[in-house]
């Protein structure tokens, strides 16, 4: 009988090798700069919060809300890593019981270990805020860690169940989010004893869920398992693609009805090169979605950001434009590699000019939108500083960084 647990181990080792290669690509200047910026901003924000007495008792509900968001973010990390491949549905049909048994059990154990590391990291990041909120002594921190681990185990077990034919319908994502949100917020609001009771109850529930999972049958739902494995890989690549050019990546092509109306307004006859960049941005790959998400996130956060000095808005504008320009780079690379050379022979200078026009429009539109909200929610001056910083960063990126990058490549 084939050793299916060993097969999972071999695949895991291969994936780890690939991951090491990607991590080397990821820790480039952009990602290090991003981490440095995030760390600096977090320290400054904490310092400012302490100075302005933001940790006062009256503000606690807002902090608990923020901590709930952080907990949910980390609960989302550490997905089920099955390492299943499309070809398994053909070449491993004869060993399906082994796949459903030792193989997936090994995958589950490995995923749980990784997921617990993520929860530990989230827990560690929450500690400074909780200290300022008056959580002294290790007891409450222990309860929080137990809660996070139990919640993650339940979530992972739910995903594991979905791989089998016998599984019922999964809980809607919205309901999962709501339950997670309520449990976390309730936990932060409870006194120490209540927190321990809640954490222990959830641990018992997690234990029951794990025990119940043992009764699952031996028939896999290949449709769901392969879709889950594909999504997991896509998410991994999407994360690496945020800051690095990932080789062997596959792009998902999608049409969005709302965007099609906008894209139709850009006829090929007028500026074909620029229209191709727009189409590639919003249909293929993650770039269009990432830019929209980044802009929406900033728009949602703006009313809550309090900056006493204008340099804060300048930094925010520069960082925002920097991230947008960084996201747009893979579009130019993708079209350079595939389209321009094979189907459409355009002089490199024309391509560069078209890309610069496209990037200016994307960054300009997003920055203008943020500026408008900033001018309304904060002050006209804050909006002006933000816009100027974004425009200057975009200009410097186009004039200094891109030519240097092209000459190196």
């Amino acid at each position: 009988m084939m050793d299916m647990a060993a097969l999972y181990h071999r695949r895991k080792q291969q994936a780890q090798k690939e991951q090491q290669r990607y991590l080397k690509l990821l820790f480039n200047d952009h990602f290090v700069l991003f981490l440095f910026l995030c760390f600096g901003l977090a320290i400054l924000a904490l310092k400012q919060a302490v100075q302005t007495d933001a940790f006062a008792t009256a503000n606690r509900p807002y902090w608990y809300l923020a901590l709930t968001g952080l907990a949910l973010f980390f609960l989302h990390l550490g997905q089920l890593d099955t390492q299943l491949k499309q070809a398994d549905a053909i070449f491993l049909l004869g060993a399906e019981e082994g796949l459903a048994g030792p193989y997936l059990r090994e995958a589950w154990r490995h995923s749980l270990r990784l997921a617990f590391i993520w929860q530990g990291l989230g827990w560690f990041l929450m500690m400074p805020i909780l200290l300022y909120l008056g959580w002294h002594g290790p007891s409450r921190y222990g309860a929080l860690l137990l809660l996070l681990l139990a919640m993650k185990a339940v979530l992972l077990q739910q995903d594991y169940r979905q791989l089998f034919v016998q599984a019922g319908r999964p809980l809607p994502i919205g309901l999962r989010l709501l339950v997670g949100c309520l449990l976390c917020y309730l936990f932060f609001c409870l006194p120490e004893l209540g927190q321990w009771v809640l954490a222990c109850l959830l641990t018992i529930f997690a234990g029951w869920a794990l025990y119940d999972g043992r009764t699952l049958g031996q028939s896999l739902s290949f449709e769901r398992t392969l879709a889950q494995a594909g999504q997991y890989q896509q998410r991994r690549y999407a994360f690496y693609r945020l800051f690095a050019e990932v080789p062997k990546q596959t792009t998902v092509v999608k049409r969005h009805a709302a965007l099609d109306v906008f894209l139709k307004a850009l006829p090929f006859q007028k500026d074909p090169l620029q229209r191709l960049y727009w189409l590639s941005c919003f249909r293929a790959g993650e770039q269009g979605r990432l830019i929209v998400r980044l802009t929406l996130l900033l728009l949602c956060l703006l009313p809550f950001i309090q900056m006493t000095a204008n340099w804060g808005w300048i930094c925010l504008g520069a960082g925002f434009a920097y991230l947008l320009e960084l996201q747009l780079l893979p579009i130019a690379d993708r079209l350079n590699q595939v389209f321009w050379t094979r189907f459409y022979f355009v002089h490199p200078d024309r391509r560069r000019q078209a890309f610069a026009r496209f990037a200016r429009k994307v960054t300009g539109l997003a920055a203008l939108l943020v500026t408008l909200v900033l001018a309304i929610s904060q002050s006209f001056l804050a909006g002006l500083f933000f816009l100027l910083a974004a425009c200057l960063t975009s200009y410097l990126w186009q004039q200094l960084y891109l030519p240097k990058k092209r000459s190196n490549s």
Partner: protein, 248 residues
């Protein structure tokens, strides 16, 4: 051995393709699921191999010893009885040809000298000898299709499902594949395939199931199906001429 499909209804999210599809096939024959594009041939196969869930209806395999295996209840046991060649070859990026075949044999618990000899013979038939150390991912479409065929015929599956077997194959490989299918059917296996090459189908198939809009339109030998469609026996290749005409 017998394959029973009873009132199978299915398709994709919000788009039903199969409409209470029913047929019953005995082993020892090559059966063709024929129809125009969108008739439901590939969807039927996807349900049979478990790529799509059976939401309504029943799919059963009755083995020669009388044991009944229900796809919905014993999916793993059902799938262990079949070999499947999809329309587009699906291969591992990181495995060589030899590793693909070893993995397949190991998964069916038949990594023995007899099966390895059979693999060697199949590789020779499809002129893949000497390429065992190559990565099939880099092969042409036709070569990849040959890998899938070798894999399907390397194991003793009672039910072999093949979606468009002749696409991309050279004439020698097409003839070799026909011989293999006939031999497996003669040994008691059931071969279920789809094809649009009616001339090949006429010579190869023992039975035809004609599909239209997810339903069985006609069933029987190629000659009988041609007769049911108002055609003479020699005009089987004109099977879709009338239904394929654009409406005036």
């Amino acid at each position: 051995m017998k394959l029973l499909v009873h009132k199978l209804t299915g398709g994709y999210a919000g788009q039903p393709v199969l409409d209470q599809l029913s047929f019953e096939l005995a082993g020892g024959q090559v059966v063709g699921l024929l129809g125009l594009n969108g008739a439901g041939k590939s969807t039927t196969f996807k349900h049979l191999v478990g790529e799509r869930p059976v939401t309504a209806g029943m799919v059963r395999l009755v083995q020669s010893d009388g044991q009944v295996i229900d796809l919905a209840e014993q999916a793993a046991t059902f799938r262990a009885q079949l070999a499947y060649i999809p329309e587009q070859p699906i291969l591992y990026d990181e495995l060589t040809l030899a590793e693909h075949l070893d993995l397949l044999l190991a998964s069916h618990d038949c990594l023995d000298s007899a099966h390895q000899e059979r693999v060697a013979s199949l590789l020779k038939t499809f002129r893949l000898t000497g390429k065992e150390g190559w990565f099939p991912k880099h092969f042409s479409k036709g070569m990849q299709q040959k890998v899938m065929i070798v894999a399907a015929f390397a194991i003793d599956a009672p039910l072999t499902i093949i979606d468009e077997p002749f696409v991309g194959l050279d004439p020698l490989a097409q003839k070799a594949l026909q011989r293999l299918m006939k031999a497996r059917a003669a040994a008691g296996g059931l071969i279920l395939l789809t094809t649009h090459q009616l001339a090949l189908a006429e010579a190869l198939l023992d039975q035809v199931i004609l599909l239209e809009a997810g339903r069985v339109l006609a069933t029987g030998s190629p000659a009988a199906v041609a007769a049911q469609q108002g055609l003479s026996e020699s005009h089987f290749t004109d099977l879709f001429e009338q239904s394929g005409e654009a409406p005036s």
